[in-house]
């Protein structure tokens, strides 16, 4: 990461207004969005949106031509171009031919994308943004920090200051008055303007219609009062039929602002009468700017399913800390990272893709069913293909890919850490490593790894067998978790094997874009875990489980590896996360827990991969309750703890505040313990609470359940 990028993060983190506003908004957003979808099947809605948009992306050329024909038959002029420069030239020439001196704009991200205002203003044309947020940032000479709420990063005091210095002195920081002031000032602009520019949320090929969604009513004025209307439309806005607008209009307001519908939806088809009775001159610019290239890319065509609702920003634990400007000047947040890489250039996304913590919260709410985290991983992979692996990472992965070397280094580390480790924790590290122990203690590497302690547990001979996949953290830091898993399974009459050939699951390599290393790890593990005939492969680490169950296959697919695919599928079919397997055994009547005289109150933290990738957020809760625990849910129980593997090493300045929020939510429940299913989360949360000197007991579900076996 570049120094200037790290500085921009620091700057954003140091802005209390930004963090306050975004933090409050993200809390309110979750509730209002949920309420807006009450009584509806969101999965069905987004399936429809996805179908409509994916069809559009697959038929861009055909839909663009149909749209052009139909809009032109209604008197519109349609200009198709792939070049932003041509869009700007077209509008400038039009302004010059028609003697346009001032123009008003309603919100258009496409115009932001090509920096249109600057171009027109340089030629002496007065341009007024009329969306309140856009007007504010225009006056402040800033760029939008959010696709739906461009000025969300500013306080009313800052807005007042801008109005006072740029428009008219004497304004007070009173929001209704500031809004009235803007209404008054812009009203004259609407009435005087020679030309109006809008974007469009949807363009319908079948009818040549434009659909524009707003709340303020500015788009209605922009498209009614000036005698010329120019609409700038990215071609990914095309849908085939008129009925296709329904799913988009259902999802967009609900996902963007938690509204059932925005105050205004305007559908314009061809020329309409001007206020002087003349037919309006309507120009529609269909802008490609790399969208066709995206559509032709087998991975990234999915990103064209975006309807620009910005929900991926609203639920992102990183966005709510740093806001939009760290991401860039136009499109921000998760989808913005992807769009910047394409519309601008891949290189531009080099730093910002590193902001993604891979928690999957955005994927859960995306109305276009875009797997944003996966596409960001793909960006990572391509960036590394282009510029090569950073030298330090390369060295690390060379070790990780050599199982024997990796394991002997970890053993050596357990000795080397001695000066720093006390009672299982490393609380301070010297020099540049101190960032890592600044906000949490780290676990000491266990004296004896799980692979050694396992040998001491005598295994019963059973018909049913499970191979345990430990994963690095359990193997080398938390062997007690592995022992708990073995104890529980033995109790249910399952013999446990520890295949010695198992190694790192490859997640660290994959999440850093080093797919070749990840594929090497996958091959080693497939061979090791399928060597002996077993009924289950079980892991108490959700990230490892996802690797075994899904990512080995995904990595092979990305790299075009076919020879190992059969093994990957066979392994995936046998793999289960610990709590899901326990639930199965309890349901089959093979496991029972002790009756508790008094329930122990704990809260539960959802690990990202367990909840959002494996969809297994209920089994651990159910099992804990059966084992005599009462679960007191915390606020935002399913928001990432900030660990995310090497993320907390690369961006400790972001990992720390995300953890802080999690710790506060845990403490607020008053529970004396917190359970979770991921050793990575245990490391982060236990380390954070230890640093605070808290007595709250952080334990893996496996450890809690093993204690309560009948």
């Amino acid at each position: 990461m570049t120094t200037t990028f790290k500085e921009s993060i620091q700057e954003a983190l140091a802005n209390p207004n930004l963090r306050g506003a975004l933090g409050r908004f993200s809390e309110a957003y979750r509730l209002s969005r949920a309420k807006a979808y009450e009584g509806m099947d969101f999965e069905a809605v987004r399936d429809s949106v996805k179908d409509v948009k994916a069809y559009g992306a697959a038929h861009l050329e055909e839909l663009a031509e149909t749209f052009k024909r139909n809009a032109e038959s209604k008197g519109a002029k349609v200009f198709r171009t792939s070049s932003p420069a041509e869009v700007k030239a077209y509008i400038l020439a039009l302004c010059q031919e028609r003697g346009v001196k001032t123009l008003v704009k309603s919100k258009s991200m496409a115009s932001e994308e090509i920096h249109l205002n600057k171009h027109l203003e340089a030629e002496g044309i007065e341009v007024y943004e009329t969306d309140l947020g856009e007007w504010i940032i225009q006056l402040a000479h800033q760029t939008p920090s959010h696709m739906v709420m461009p000025a969300i990063h500013m306080t009313k005091e800052e807005v007042t200051e801008i109005f006072n210095t740029k428009v008219e002195d004497g304004q007070m920081p009173d929001i209704p008055k500031l809004v009235k002031f803007a209404r008054g000032k812009l009203r004259g602009r609407f009435l005087d303007a020679d030309l109006g520019i809008s974007g469009a949320n949807i363009a319908v090929a079948e009818t040549g219609s434009l659909v524009i969604v707003t709340n303020e009513g500015n788009a209605r004025l922009v498209t009614t009062l000036p005698n010329i209307h120019v609409a700038i439309v990215g071609i990914e806005k095309l849908v085939a039929g008129f009925k296709d607008i329904q799913p988009i209009l259902t999802a967009l307001p609900r996902n963007a602002t938690g509204q059932l519908l925005t105050s205004y939806v305007t559908i314009i088809t061809g020329q309409t009468p001007n206020t002087d009775g003349s037919p309006k001159e309507l120009h529609i610019i269909l802008m490609d700017n790399k969208r066709s290239e995206m559509a032709a890319d087998p991975k990234f065509k999915e990103a064209l399913q975006c309807i620009r609702c910005a929900s991926c920003l609203n639920v992102c634990p990183v966005f709510r800390l740093v806001g939009g400007h760290v991401f860039g000047k136009v499109y921000t947040g998760g989808i913005g990272t992807i769009l910047t890489a394409w519309f601008d250039e891949l290189k531009k996304a080099d730093d910002i893709q590193g902001l993604c913590i891979q928690c999957g919260a955005c994927k859960d709410v995306c109305p276009g069913r875009i797997d944003i985290p996966d596409l960001i991983l793909e960006l990572r992979r391509r960036l590394i293909l282009e510029k090569g692996q950073p030298i330090v990472q390369k060295a690390i992965f060379a070790v990780v890919n050599n199982r024997r070397l990796f394991h002997s280094m970890l053993r050596a580390a357990s000795v080397a850490q001695k000066p720093f480790a006390r009672a299982g924790f490393i609380r301070h590290l010297p020099l540049f490593l101190s960032d890592l122990t600044d906000f949490r203690s780290l676990p000491a590497i266990a004296e004896k790894p799980f692979r050694d302690t396992f040998k001491a547990i005598k295994q019963p001979e059973c018909k049913e067998k499970a191979a345990i996949y430990a994963g690095c953290l359990i193997d080398f830091s938390y062997p007690e978790m592995g022992e708990a898993v073995v104890k529980v399974l033995n109790k249910a009459g399952i013999q446990v094997l520890f295949p010695e050939g198992q190694t790192c699951c490859g997640a660290p390599a994959r999440y850093n874009g080093a797919y070749e290393t990840a594929a090497g790890n996958a091959r080693d593990n497939i061979q090791a875990l399928l060597e002996e005939e077993v009924d289950y492969v079980v892991s108490a680490c959700p990230t490892c489980t996802v690797a075994l169950k899904e990512d080995f296959i995904n990595t092979f697919e990305s790299l075009g590896v076919t020879d190992a695919m059969e093994g990957a599928r066979a392994l995936a079919a046998k793999t289960l996360d610990f709590s899901t397997l326990v639930k199965k055994l309890v349901d089959e009547g093979r496991l029972e827990f002790q009756d508790a005289a008094e329930a122990e109150v704990v809260t539960y933290h959802d690990s990202c991969h367990l909840k959002r990738t494996l969809g297994a957020d209920q089994p651990p809760r159910e099992m804990l309750r059966k084992a005599g625990y009462e679960i007191k849910e915390m606020a935002e129980c399913d928001i990432c703890c900030g660990m995310a593997g090497s993320y907390s090493l690369k961006l400790p300045e972001l990992s720390a505040p995300i953890l802080q929020r999690k710790l506060n939510n845990i403490k607020d429940t008053g529970a004396r313990g917190v359970a979770m299913d991921c050793p990575g989360c245990v490391m982060q949360i236990r380390g954070g609470l230890d640093k605070l000197g808290s007595a709250i007991k952080v334990e893996h579900t496996a450890v809690r359940l093993a204690r309560r076996l009948k």
Binding site: L132, T155, R187, G217, I267
Partner: protein
Amino acid sequence: MEKLFASFKERATAASAEVHRFSNAAEATTFILGLVQELGGNALWAPCPFLEATGRPEQAGLSYRVTREAASHAKVGISQMDWALADTGTLVQDATRVELRLVSTLSQVHIALIGADRFLPDLGSVLERIKPEQAGYLSLITGPSRTADIERVLTIGVHGPERLVIIVVEGVAA
């Protein structure tokens, strides 16, 4: 119908619109004239089937000459809508005639008339009935103009009307 109306009223009210219902045109007219008087300032009433059926009531400050100039000074704009959607509290209007747009975009208060027999369940049912080839400018209106662009604080009335008063009338032509 009663179910559709009840849902419409609930949703429109939640979107900060005001909903009134009258059993005949005369009562609706009386209410509108009273509201116009109470609000003061100029009022503009755009051509619509309601007026064609009832004739144009006379009142000081109320005009039927809808021009850009008049609309930019009007406090109240009155127009008739074509459909009402129960599940979102939305009004739908073929606003191709520019007079219809002038009175509902520039005024501070928009009084929107809607026939009691014009209620539909949802967006899907109106999209089936709309022919965009025949209606160049369609407006879907849900509540008054709003913004939350400063500090996410909801503020009613930015560029469009700050009040939306919906008048549901029984027994009136569409």
